[in-house]
């Protein structure tokens, strides 16, 4: 292939090389080039930007990022992904070599589910890609990382569940590979009245850790659709990652999304939902469990553009060791979005005195007939609770773990799909969750 992995730094040529290698249609090449221009024109994030005020990016040497060489062959599903427990209807692996469909169940086949490599889909199913890719959900203009992904995503995936189809078993999309710079891009859409669950899993591949995973996730729920979506960031503990995720929710559609973070040493996520038509409904869940010196920054946006929308957000974190978290959440209500009902809650449980959790709520309300509330709590382990549990024979470590598991139930209770809920619980509380001080029992 045309990409030369030894070429230093990312250049405009990297964009053309990638488009050539993937034999992309002209419109996609043009879109990548335009995104590259935005990338070059956008200054690097600085601590003086409000969004980056508490988030240290000094580790990132922009000029030393190099494009990923395509792998020989395709990446399989890493053993760390609980494929068997999830029993997916479709399994797809995203890597620099492209998205590879591992498995499609008869259920998904008869429902007409589309699961394709994104570059291939741009050729064969442009009607499912062209309108939605890097346009209204995650656009280059939204920032440096977003522009970089739009210009140079590699190994993206398209998932589409057609109008009226209902899928009981979840669709699993795994981000894998061993490239130093990984830029997965998931574009997923549900047609009118469709119902499906999608689980996106950023896996620890056991291979060399990435310098940066810069991923984008664009979700579209058409009128009356029910989308259950989960993102699991379970990268190796020395990985660094940035996620830009936005769901566009249409008339009377329902989104229930859950972002779980347990891996990586640095994770910055924008989690956003736009309620574009009347009666849209978004439940936004987040759960993160950090130890040692892990750092997580969540910026969430509940963007109400139309009347009678409801959004309900709950992000809960458990921090141990010297972990740090930043949560900043904004509820935006457009002047047109009368009768909006929006709620935002962030809670953090600090297990050790070396941890710190910052919580910054913001409301931008421009309509007058709305109900918007927010809350934030940060707590520590209650000694009386530990005493009570230990008085029944549990060791201190068991008691602590039980309290932590219980802490996440408030979030997990809001995940509508039982199978998805179970794998998320396992990700948060199983032996892989947390590290150092946060080791499971």
């Amino acid at each position: 292939m045309a990409i030369d992995a030894r070429a230093p730094g990312l250049t405009r040529q990297s964009v053309d090389d990638l488009a050539d290698a993937q034999q992309e249609p002209d419109w996609l090449r043009a879109r990548r080039r335009a995104a590259w221009d935005v990338y070059e024109a956008t200054p690097n994030p600085e601590r003086t930007d409000e969004e980056w005020r508490r988030t240290d990016l000094r580790w990132l040497q922009w000029e030393s990022l190099t494009p990923a060489a395509p792998l020989d062959g395709v990446a399989g599903v890493p053993a760390t992904v609980p494929t068997a427990a999830l029993d997916p209807s479709v399994t797809l692996v995203m890597s620099a070599a492209g998205a590879h469909v591992v498995d499609v169940s008869p259920e998904a086949r008869s429902a007409g589910v589309v699961a394709l490599d994104l570059a291939e889909a741009a050729q064969t199913r442009p009607e499912l890609v062209r309108d939605n890719l890097s346009t209204t959900a995650v656009a280059p203009e939204q920032g440096k990382f977003q522009a970089l992904n739009a210009a140079l995503w590699q190994g993206g995936a398209l998932v589409h569940v057609p109008r009226g189809a209902a899928l009981a078993q979840p669709i699993l999309v795994v981000a894998s590979g061993d490239a130093a710079l990984r830029q997965p891009h998931l574009l997923a859409s549900l047609g009118e009245g469709a119902q499906a669950s999608i689980v996106e899993w950023w896996a620890d591949t056991g291979a060399g850790s990435p310098v940066l995973v810069n991923g984008a996730t664009e979700l579209f729920a058409a009128s009356g659709a029910h989308l259950t979506y989960a993102h699991v960031q379970a990268l190796a503990l020395d990985a660094r990652s940035v996620l830009s995720q936005r769901a566009v929710v249409s008339r009377d559609a329902t989104l229930a999304s859950t972002n779980v973070t347990v891996g990586g040493r640095f994770h910055k996520a924008r989690v956003e939902a736009t309620l574009v038509e009347p009666g849209a409904n978004a439940v936004l869940n987040g759960a993160f469990r950090l130890g040692s010196r892990q750092f997580v920054d969540h910026h969430t946006t509940q963007d109400h553009l139309a009347t009678d929308g409801t959004s309900d957000l709950l992000f809960a974190g458990v921090l141990d060791g010297r972990a740090r978290s930043v949560y900043a959440g904004t509820i935006v209500v457009d002047p047109a979005a009368q009768r909006t009902n929006a709620y935002q809650n962030n809670r953090n449980l600090l297990l050790s005195s070396g941890t710190r959790a910052d919580s910054i709520p913001r409301l931008e309300i421009m309509a007058d007939d709305v109900r918007c509330t927010h809350g934030a709590t940060t707590s520590t382990l209650e000694p009386s609770h530990l005493y009570y549990l230990c008085s029944r024979g549990l060791t201190h470590a068991q008691a602590r773990e039980l309290i932590v598991e219980g802490y996440f139930e408030a979030v997990l209770d809001r995940v509508p799909h039982e199978g998805v809920r179970d794998v998320l619980r396992e990700a948060l509380t199983g032996p892989a969750a947390g590290n150092d001080g946060a080791t499971g029992i």
């Binding site: 029944r392 024979g393 309290i403």
Partner: protein, 254 residues
């Protein structure tokens, strides 16, 4: 009355305990053999709950002198969870509410903590349902979060349910009657009476005589200002009910 001199008894010898450097227990001697129910009565602030929590190993209570042995072991050397696994159980006056932790999951974990081999899910379910029937508890209770949103009566019944499942060898009931109406009190007392037997020593701590109509004690102790002021049989509780604690205090001071 100290006839049950078996090595398994709870033996408290000249126990002194302080909280934040303030002396609360000032020399307690108590001997509770297996198979007996002892009631510990006393006015507010006399040190009843301090004694219960000292036996359970609450970190806020500091033993300054004296000893506590149970089953021949020095209890004071053991952590709270080690005491529990030795067979000590305390029904809390104010049980903690722990969100997200289901009663059944917690109980199964607690039971497994003191067993050599894990109980099977089936066997545990059968055991729990049997005990819940005994305490006239709705089976739905098992799926609720531990004490969260429970009424006072439900919390106390949940304590006795744990006791019934864990089958301790030393049970300490810390004011289990407080806040209970008469029906709940009967159910709780029935539960305790069913569990009473040759293998369990029981210490019932209460302010009021009422509970002792239902859980009839072998021995009654009166705790006043950190010391056992009187010891007698169940009639002593009735006497206290009539005369009040002041009579004993006055007799002591005379």
């Amino acid at each position: 009355m100290h006839n049950g001199s078996g090595a398994d008894a709870l033996v408290i010898d000249d126990l002194h305990v302080t909280v934040n450097d303030m002396p609360i227990l000032k020399g307690i001697d108590l001997h509770v053999p297996k198979g007996e129910v002892h009631a510990l009565m006393g006015p507010n602030g006399s040190g009843k709950s301090t004694l219960a929590n000292t036996l359970m190993g609450h970190p806020a209570f500091e033993v300054t002198s004296g000893s506590v042995t149970f089953k021949g072991q020095n209890l004071l050397e053991l952590e709270t969870d080690e005491r529990a696994r030795l067979g000590v159980f305390m029904a809390f006056q104010y049980p903690s509410e722990i969100t997200g932790v289901r009663v059944s999951n917690f109980l199964r974990m607690a039971l497994n903590a003191q067993r050599e081999d894990e109980i099977s899910a089936m066997e545990f379910r059968r055991l729990m349902m049997e005990k819940m029937r005994l305490l006239r508890m709705d089976p739905k209770f098992a799926g609720r979060y531990l004490n969260e949103g429970f009424s006072g009566g439900e919390k106390k019944r949940n304590e006795i349910l744990q006791m019934a499942v864990l089958q301790p060898e030393l049970a300490i009931l810390d004011e289990t009657d407080s806040g209970l109406d008469i029906d709940a009190l009967r159910i709780v007392a029935d539960g305790v009476n069913t569990l009473r037997g040759a293998e369990m020593a029981t210490l019932v701590i209460t302010h009021y005589q009422r509970l002792l109509n239902y859980i009839v004690p072998d021995v009654v102790h009166v705790l006043i200002d950190g010391r056992i002021a009187r010891t007698g049989d169940k009639e002593l509780a009735l006497e206290l009910d009539e005369m009040g604690y002041e009579a004993i205090t006055a007799a002591q001071e005379a």
